[in-house]
C-alpha cells in the first residue's frame, strides 16, 4: 500500500519533470557531470596508483636495489683495465659504479642480509636464425629467480657449475622466446650475442624487470621483457668491463663492474634499518655519487601516501561539483514551487496534508538527482574505458566509487530538495489557491 503510493508519487514526479524536459535535463546535467567526474577521476587515479604500486611490488618489498649511476659531475678518469671493449680511436673513458667488492662488503657487514645478487646489464642484439631482437643481456648468479621472484617455465636457470666453467649458456624470457623462436622450441638452440653463441637452457617468466627503469633513455619504447640471462663470469669475460657506446660518430667508453646489486633482506623490518647502513657503507668507498639506492618498500609507502592525498583532492573537487549541481537543483525546485503554487493549493484543497506536498516535491528532486546520478554512473563508467582505449592509461572503476558517487547524488537530492519541499508545504492552502 505504502509502496504503491510511493510508486505513484514517483510516477507523478517523473511526469511533472517531463513537462519541462529541457529544464529538467539541464538541471540533471550538473549532477551528471558531478557523478561522472567522481567516478572517472577516481578510476584514473586508482589505475595510475595501481600501476605504480604493482611496479614497486614487482621490485620486491624485501629488497633494496643499488644501481650504478653515471656521476653528474663528469669526473673523468683515464681508463685502467680497458681490456675487451677498447680499440678504435681513444675517446673518454669513465669509470664509475658498483663493484664486486661492494657486493661482498654488503654481504659481510650489513645485518639481516639474506642474499646479495650482483648483476651486469648490457644492451646487445640477440640473434637466432634471421630474427634479431635488441635485448638486455644480464649477467647474474643462479639465485636470481628467488630474489627477483621470477619463475622458470622451461628447462632450468643458471647453475653453479655454469658459473664455475663460465659456460656459454643462457636463459631467455618468455617474451623474447616468442620473438626469437616463433615456431620452435628454444631449448638447446644457440643464440648469438655479440660474437659468441650461447646455448638456451631455460625459459623464464619474469615477475619483475628491475632493469626497466635504467638511467639510460635508450631503452624507452622497447618491450620490457626481452632479457637474456648469462653467468656473471661469462658476462665479465665475454664483454669485458669497459663498454663502448657509439653516439653520433664519437665514442664513449665506460668502465662499470656491476650495474645493479639487489640486496635481499630477511624481512621488511630489516629493510628499514639496513637502508641507512648501506648508504654509509657505500659512501665510505665511493668518492663520487655514482650509485643510487632504491627501497621499494619506501616507494610503496610514498605511493600510498600520494594516493591518499590524490583521493582527498579528487574528493574535494567532486564534492564541489556535486554541491554546485545541488544548488542548481535547489534553484530550479524553488522556481518550480513558485510556478506551481496554484497546483499546491489545489492539492491541499483536495485533501493533501503538508507532508504529502513535502513528499511530492522531495520525490521530484530525488528523481532528478538520482536520474542524473544514474546517467552519471553510466557515463562515468564508460569514460575511463574510452580513456584507457585512447591513451593506454590503466583505469580501474571500483565498486565503492560508483556507490559513493551514486549515494552522494541521492543525498544531494534530499538535502537540496528539502528546503523547497518544505517551503511548498508551508504555504497556506487559501494563499496558494489565490496565487496567480
Amino acid at each position: 500500500m505504502i509502496s504503491y503510493q510511493l510508486a505513484s508519487t514517483i510516477r507523478l514526479g517523473v511526469k511533472s519533470l517531463l513537462l519541462h524536459k529541457l529544464r529538467s535535463a539541464l538541471t540533471m546535467l550538473g549532477i551528471i557531470f558531478g557523478v561522472c567526474s567522481v567516478i572517472a577521476m577516481l578510476a584514473i587515479g586508482e589505475g595510475a596508483s595501481y600501476e605504480a604500486q604493482e611496479a614497486i611490488k614487482k621490485l620486491g618489498s624485501n629488497n633494496i636495489l643499488l644501481r650504478s649511476v653515471k656521476p653528474p659531475e663528469q669526473a673523468r678518469q683515464q681508463g685502467g683495465g680497458g681490456g675487451g671493449g677498447g680499440g678504435g680511436p681513444r675517446g673518454m673513458q669513465l669509470k664509475y659504479g658498483l663493484t664486486y667488492q661492494d657486493g661482498s662488503r654488503l654481504q659481510t657487514t650489513i645485518p639481516g642480509v639474506k642474499r646479495v645478487l650482483p648483476m651486469r646489464i648490457i644492451r646487445e642484439n640477440v640473434r637466432f636464425d634471421r630474427n634479431e631482437v635488441p635485448c638486455q643481456v644480464i649477467g647474474t648468479l643462479p639465485f636470481y629467480p628467488e630474489v627477483a621472484g621470477a619463475a622458470i617455465v622451461r628447462g632450468r636457470f643458471l647453475a653453479h657449475i655454469d658459473e664455475v666453467h663460465q659456460d656459454n649458456v643462457c636463459i631467455i624470457t618468455t617474451g623474447l622466446a616468442r620473438r626469437l623462436f616463433p615456431h620452435q622450441d628454444p631449448l638447446e638452440h644457440s643464440v648469438k650475442i655479440d660474437a659468441f653463441y650461447y646455448r638456451v637452457v631455460g625459459v623464464l617468466q619474469e615477475r619483475s624487470q628491475p632493469e626497466q627503469r635504467s638511467q639510460s633513455g635508450k631503452m624507452e619504447g622497447q618491450p620490457l621483457d626481452n632479457n637474456v640471462y648469462i653467468p656473471l663470469g661469462a658476462s665479465r669475460t665475454r664483454f669485458g668491463e669497459v663498454l663502448i657506446r657509439r653516439a653520433a660518430g664519437s665514442f664513449e667508453a665506460e668502465e662499470v663492474q656491476l650495474h645493479q646489486i639487489t640486496v635481499q633482506m630477511e624481512n621488511t623490518a630489516a629493510v628499514e634499518t639496513a637502508d641507512p647502513q648501506i648508504k654509509t657503507l657505500l659512501d665510505k668507498f665511493h668518492d663520487q655519487q655514482d650509485f643510487e639506492i632504491i627501497v621499494p618498500l619506501q616507494l610503496l609507502r610514498q605511493a600510498e601516501q600520494t594516493k591518499r592525498i590524490f583521493n582527498i583532492v579528487l574528493g574535494s573537487i567532486a564534492a564541489i561539483s556535486l554541491l554546485v549541481g545541488g544548488i542548481g537543483i535547489m534553484n530550479i525546485m524553488l522556481a518550480t514551487v513558485t510556478e506551481r503554487t496554484r497546483e499546491i493549493g489545489v492539492r491541499r484543497a483536495l485533501g493533501a496534508k503538508r507532508r504529502d506536498i513535502t513528499r511530492q516535491f522531495l520525490v521530484e528532486t530525488v528523481v532528478l538527482s538520482v536520474g542524473g546520478g544514474l546517467i552519471g554512473v553510466v557515463v562515468g563508467v564508460l569514460t575511463p574505458i574510452v580513456v584507457s582505449q585512447l591513451t593506454t592509461m590503466k583505469t580501474i572503476v571500483t565498486v565503492w566509487s560508483v556507490l559513493l558517487a551514486f549515494g552522494i547524488s541521492g543525498a544531494v537530492g534530499i538535502v537540496f530538495g528539502l528546503y523547497p519541499a518544505k517551503a511548498a508545504a508551508r504555504l497556506d492552502p487559501i494563499d496558494a489557491l489565490r496565487h496567480e
Binding site: 491541499r348 483536495l350 485533501g351 496534508k353
Partner: protein, 239 residues
C-alpha cells in the same frame, strides 16, 4: 449545540485580514448560518461582500478569526492542519471558477487525485472513477489532458473529481463564471441532478437565474448576511 441534521453550522464567525500595520479588513463581521443535509444553497451579494471568504471558511481552506464552525458534527474551527486537510478531502468537494485541474494529469488521473490523499488504492476505485467520468459525460475522454478539453468539459471533470470521495457537500465559487451561458447551463443542470440525488450544494453566484435553482438564497452585504430568500423548501431531513 448543532442539530444532528444540520450538516453545517457556523455561529458568530468573523474574519479579519491584517494588512500590516494598523490596516485591517473585516471581511466577515458576524455570520450565523445553518445548512441542512440535501439543501441547495446559493450565496449572492455585491463584489467584496465576503462571499468567497465565507465559502473558503466553509471549505476549511481558511480559519475564522472568531466564532465556531461545526461540519458534520465536528468542530473544525480549531482543528490542527492535518485533520483539517483530512476533513477537506473526505467531507468536501470543491468546484472552482477556474476549474483548477492539474495540468500534467489526464482526465482519469485528475479524478483520482482526492483518493490518493485519503490513502486509498486507486486501482480499487477504478470503476467508480469510470462511472463518475460517464456521469459528467466524459467517459470517452479519460486519457485527455486538461489543455485538450473545453472549459465546460474541464469544469465537468472538476465536478467528477469533487465527487470521488463521496463528500458531505459540494462547494462551488462561481462555477459558471468562465463559461458561456449554454455550457454554463449544462454544468448547472449537472449540479441540479447531483442535488436531486441528495448532495448538499453551496454555490456562490452573481447570476439571479443561477440562484433561482437553489432552495435557499443568502444575500450578503459588507460581511454580514443581509437577508435570505427561500425559493422552495429544502428536502425534509430524512435521518
Amino acid at each position: 449545540m448543532p442539530r444532528p441534521s444540520a450538516i453545517i453550522r457556523i455561529e458568530g464567525v468573523k474574519k479579519r485580514y491584517v494588512l500590516g500595520g494598523e490596516n485591517e479588513v473585516l471581511a466577515l463581521r458576524h455570520v450565523d448560518l445553518a445548512v441542512e443535509a440535501g439543501t441547495y444553497l446559493a450565496i449572492m451579494g455585491p463584489s467584496g461582500s465576503g462571499k468567497s471568504t465565507m465559502l473558503n471558511i466553509l471549505g476549511c481552506l481558511d480559519r475564522p478569526s472568531a466564532g465556531s464552525y461545526w461540519l458534520g458534527g465536528e468542530d473544525v474551527s480549531r482543528m490542527p492542519d492535518d485533520q483539517l486537510s483530512e476533513a477537506r478531502g473526505r467531507k468536501i468537494g470543491f468546484i472552482f471558477q477556474s476549474y483548477n485541474l492539474i495540468a500534467q494529469l489526464t482526465v482519469l488521473e485528475n479524478i483520482q487525485v482526492p483518493l490518493l490523499y485519503q490513502g486509498k488504492d486507486v486501482r480499487l476505485f477504478h470503476d467508480r472513477c469510470l462511472d463518475l467520468a460517464r456521469l459528467v459525460g466524459l467517459g470517452d475522454r479519460l486519457g485527455h489532458r486538461p489543455n485538450q478539453l473545453s472549459g465546460g468539459q474541464q469544469q465537468r471533470v472538476a465536478i467528477a473529481r469533487s465527487l470521488v470521495n463521496d463528500p458531505l457537500m459540494l462547494l462551488a465559487d462561481e462555477p459558471t463564471g468562465n463559461l458561456d451561458s449554454r455550457t454554463g447551463t449544462e454544468v448547472l443542470d449537472l449540479i441540479d441532478r447531483l442535488n436531486q440525488a441528495g448532495k448538499t450544494i453551496i454555490l456562490v453566484t452573481h447570476d439571479e437565474r443561477v440562484a433561482a435553482r437553489a432552495h435557499r438564497v443568502v444575500h450578503m452585504k459588507d460581511g454580514v448576511i443581509d437577508r435570505e430568500v427561500v425559493n422552495r423548501p429544502p428536502p425534509a431531513p430524512s435521518r
